[in-house]
């Protein structure tokens, strides 16, 4: 248990992939084989044999140590975690060093943790007290964590896969894929995880795709519009779906395997031919559009990016989560199909093969695969009109790729949306780090709705350090009210903000929020009454008809 606790200490803390990988490799090389099933189950936050309420642990410890409850409460407030506070308290009040020979992780898990399930309260108490007496401090901290909340070290799967690849000579993507199926702490599961590759098995790794360059200069300079594939660039993550035999791998950002996060997509992809490599964008959409009363083809409304990252962080999404946050894969390229790789062929030919897969062409509002129809634009001016339309505001702009390009390294462009601007009034400022001299981290800006100011954006982007210092000095001198880190200031100062889009947000009093807001400049000549009205921003909300 001591080596595993040392590993947990090394993995714990702010993300540090290189150090985490090195610590994992050192542990995996040295750990007894019997410990591996449990170590991997705990590190992947797999199913736990037992959960003990922290209140039970607290009651047992206070009783055994004859300490008052308030003393533990003080410690928990200071430490921030009941399990850790108890471990420290027990260690402080220990008279003798931990008793008994050290036991390995699997013995602790099979002889202590697993038998707690189904045991009555007295037996649980006796078992846990005996374990506390036997364990040194660091293992004690981690055992309490395992019993109460699970390990929750948030080691990225890619890092764990890389470390396992380092010790097994398997490709890391293969290990990542196998890890999605690893749930049982058994020797057989570890054997399956680390089994040698079957000969002739294709790789499940994502293919390299060239990043988009921002389009500099007019689109006309690219030549005839008909030589280019134009697709909407949705606010999501770059994604590849790979079919291999019975397996389906869903990769995001070129390295993160999320297949077990999106069972509906995996099911939808099951019909695709063996060997298919789809390239596209993964996004979470608003499910409400499904009941669009107009009866027209319902458009997609992407949910904010942080919803997507949180959705993908959930190991086993419940049915309710999957319903509330449906995932959509928007396909825009095909790198291989059942007949083999297409990477040597021009994009035009790849798109023909993509069309032949007959993916759904209507937006799947309940989630699923989507191959949107080509943007039919008669020349650059028509595309420019699409780009300027309010409906474009739910996307990040256009993606332009040469139809005759066969090389993935051919330049591809991102044609961003034209920036929008608004004049808004500073209403709040937010303190950041606890250091008293630290600059304020964010400023909240509001526009008029009737005779009230409603916040629409929070940002400090765009202000130079000198601007911020001057603004902070004014704020410190004029604060009307403080609630925690938030200062209310007089509605006197007007700023020009730029933003990329307006999205509906029921959580905000304004009912909307600016995307990617940036402070352009202070507008000292403007009176607060000259700031924008909410209706002007509402006009930028994506309308029902759109891409």
């Amino acid at each position: 248990m001591i080596p595993f606790a040392a590993l947990c200490d090394a993995l714990d803390g702010p993300p540090a992939p290189a150090a985490q990988r090195a610590a994992l490799v050192a542990y995996l090389r040295a750990a007894p084989a019997a410990d591996l099933p449990w170590a991997l189950t705990l590190l992947t936050d797999g199913p736990r044999p037992v959960r003990v309420p922290p209140a039970d642990l607290a009651a047992w410890a206070l009783d055994a140590l004859a300490l008052p409850r308030w003393l533990l409460d003080d410690c928990v407030a200071h430490v921030g975690d009941t399990g850790e506070a108890l471990a420290l308290l027990i260690d402080t009040h220990r008279r003798d060093p931990p008793e008994g020979p050290p036991r390995s992780l699997h013995r602790w898990m099979t002889e202590l943790v697993a038998p707690l399930k189904g045991a009555d309260a007295d037996a649980r108490r006796a078992q846990v007290l005996a374990a506390w007496a036997a364990l040194p401090l660091r293992p004690l901290v981690w055992i309490n964590r395992i019993l109460t909340t699970g390990l929750r070290l948030a080691v990225p799967r890619a890092v764990l896969a890389q470390a396992l690849a380092d010790v097994s000579a398997l490709p890391a993507p293969e290990v990542a894929h196998r890890l999605t199926a690893f749930t049982a702490p058994t020797a057989a599961a570890v054997a399956a995880l680390l089994a040698p590759l079957a000969p002739g098995l294709a790789s499940c790794a994502p293919h390299p795709v060239s990043p988009l360059e921002p389009l500099a200069g007019p689109a006309e300079a690219l030549g005839p519009c008909t030589d280019w594939q134009a697709t909407w660039r949705w606010p999501g993550l770059p994604c590849q779906i790979i079919r291999r035999g019975a397996d389906t791998c869903v990769w995001t950002d070129g390295a993160d395997l999320v297949s077990d996060r999106c069972p509906a997509l995996v099911a939808a992809a099951r019909g695709l031919p063996d060997g298919t490599v789809l390239v596209g964008t993964l996004l979470v959409v608003e499910p409400s559009a499904a009941s669009d009363p107009s009866g027209d083809r319902p458009p997609l409304t992407p949910q904010p990016h942080d919803v997507l990252t949180r959705r993908l962080a959930r190991p086993r999404p419940s049915a309710a989560v999957r319903r509330r946050q449906p995932l959509v894969f928007v396909a825009h390229d095909l790198l291989a199909d059942g007949a083999g790789p297409l990477t040597g062929q021009p994009l035009r030919a790849r798109l023909a093969r993509l069309a032949a897969l007959s993916l759904p062409r209507d937006p799947p509002v309940a989630g699923g695969l989507w191959h949107p129809p080509a943007l039919t634009a008669a020349g650059w001016p028509a595309l420019e009109d699409l780009r300027q339309a309010p409906a474009a505001r739910r996307t990040r702009g256009l993606r332009l790729r040469p139809l005759d390009g066969a090389d993935p390294a051919d330049p591809a462009y991102h044609w961003p949306l034209p920036a929008l601007t608004v004049c808004a009034v500073l209403v709040y400022a937010h303190a950041g780090a606890r250091r008293r001299q630290a600059p304020l981290t964010d400023y909240t800006f509001a526009v008029w709705h009737g005779d009230a100011l409603v916040p629409v954006a929070k940002t400090a982007e765009g202000l130079s350090p000198a601007d911020r210092a001057a603004l902070d000095a004014w704020i410190h001198a004029h604060t009307l009210d403080r609630m925690g880190p938030v200062r209310t200031v007089p509605a006197e100062r007007v700023f020009a903000l730029s933003f990329a889009a307006v999205t509906a947000s029921p959580r905000h009093k304004a009912g909307l929020v600016l995307q990617a807001p940036r402070v352009l400049a202070p507008r000292p000549a403007l009176a607060p009454a000259d700031a924008a009205r909410l209706a002007a921003l509402q006009a930028h909300l994506p309308s029902a008809a759109g891409p």
């Binding site: 308030w70 200071h78 430490v79 975690d81 506070a85 308290l89």
Partner: protein, 357 residues
């Protein structure tokens, strides 16, 4: 199961001085000043004042206890050079170094300095007047430290104790084991061809570590000490403390080789040299015992090594003092005072304020 079922109770339970009507509490010998520091009305002097005063009795030379600007300083002799360097480098003030245990009469109050084991020359100050004995501990520790005289318990009626770590989650592992772990970490860094950088306070922690390392033959590489601490190291050496040999680390110019251990104050941790040398990093502090605090520091490793008293040491010290009244300073919470009141049956709380005196 841990066997400390019975809490530590300093002394036996007698009626409390503060609440026994037959025995009204005498006037306090020491009160809290309005802007930090302690004031002794009977002797009209201050202990560890945070502003300029006529007469300042100093427990030790750390900046939160010793400030410049006062006319006369009293301190324990081994720490006099440190105090001079810190508060009065131009020699304008009058500085009275006194031997440990020697009694000096200051405006009618019998004052003496006793080892506190915190840093070189750190002292508890014992005050005797009006039939009472008070002891102000200043910062102290009970763990072994080859760079200063160990703490000596001083019996008293009223103990004014620090409690920086006044919560029962704090108990220090044996200092030897921590030094073993520290050297092992340094050895691993050296074996990997890296430099090791350890954040340690420039006064006290740095010299304690150097003194511990001086006694070891298993140092895996050369030692470098941040120039902010180098002069202080000379003051230690002048007092006969044996420190491991080191080179002075100037962040702008020095190039410690791979395998070196660099001791540097925490304030220098974000500096550019860290980008250039890419050392493996660690912090040595009592706060490293708690995960949340360990993660607030941008370091790879945390070593639990403190120059303050842990919870058992605080309780031991209260018991050994035989004081019936304990005032608690520098405590993050009321926990220790409440424990002494409710569990140990003592009169305990914050130091009385000047206004109430």
């Amino acid at each position: 199961m841990p066997k400390a079922a019975r809490p530590r109770t300093p002394g036996d339970a007698r009626p409390l001085a503060g609440i026994c009507p037959a025995m009204p509490a005498p006037d306090p010998l020491v009160v809290q000043g309005p802007r930090g520091g302690l004031y002794c009305p009977a002797g009209d002097f201050w202990i560890d004042p945070l502003r300029s005063v006529e007469t300042a009795l100093i427990t030790h030379a750390h900046a939160d206890h010793a400030r410049s600007g006062s006319a006369t300083y009293w301190c324990a002799a081994p720490g006099a050079a440190l105090l001079r360097r810190r508060v009065d480098p131009r020699g304008r003030a009058h500085l009275n170094p006194v031997d440990f245990g020697a009694v000096h009469l200051i405006n009618g109050v019998r004052c003496s300095w006793h080892p506190a084991g915190h840093i070189l020359g750190s002292a508890q100050i014992r005050l005797e007047a009006e039939g009472q004995v008070w002891v102000v501990t200043g910062d102290y520790k009970r763990a072994p430290d080859p760079s200063c005289r160990p703490f000596e318990p001083v019996p008293c009626d009223v103990l004014v104790t620090e409690a920086t770590f006044g919560l029962p989650v704090y108990r220090w592992p044996p200092a030897d084991a921590v030094m073993d772990a520290l050297v092992a970490w340094w050895r691993d860094a050296a074996a990997a061809g890296d430099r090791a950088a350890l954040w340690a306070y420039s006064l006290g922690k740095t010299q304690r570590i150097l003194a511990c390392l001086a006694a070891r033959t298993d140092r895996p590489g050369p030692l470098w000490v941040h120039r902010a601490a180098a002069g202080l190291c000379a003051d230690y050496a002048a007092q006969g403390v044996t420190l491991a040999p080191f080179e002075v680390f100037d962040p702008a110019t020095s190039q410690p080789p791979p395998g070196a251990l660099i001791l540097t104050p925490p304030a220098a941790e974000d500096a550019a040299w860290r980008q250039a040398l890419r050392p493996q990093t660690a912090s040595a502090s009592g706060w490293m015992r708690v995960r949340r605090q360990r993660h607030q520091r941008p370091v790879d490793r945390g070593f639990v090594l403190s120059d303050h008293a842990d919870w058992p040491a605080l309780l031991d010290t209260v018991r050994a003092s035989q004081a019936r009244t304990v005032y608690v300073m520098h405590s993050p919470t009321d926990t220790l005072a409440r424990y002494l009141r409710e569990v140990c049956g003592l009169n305990a709380g914050p130091v009385p304020r000047l206004a109430q005196a």
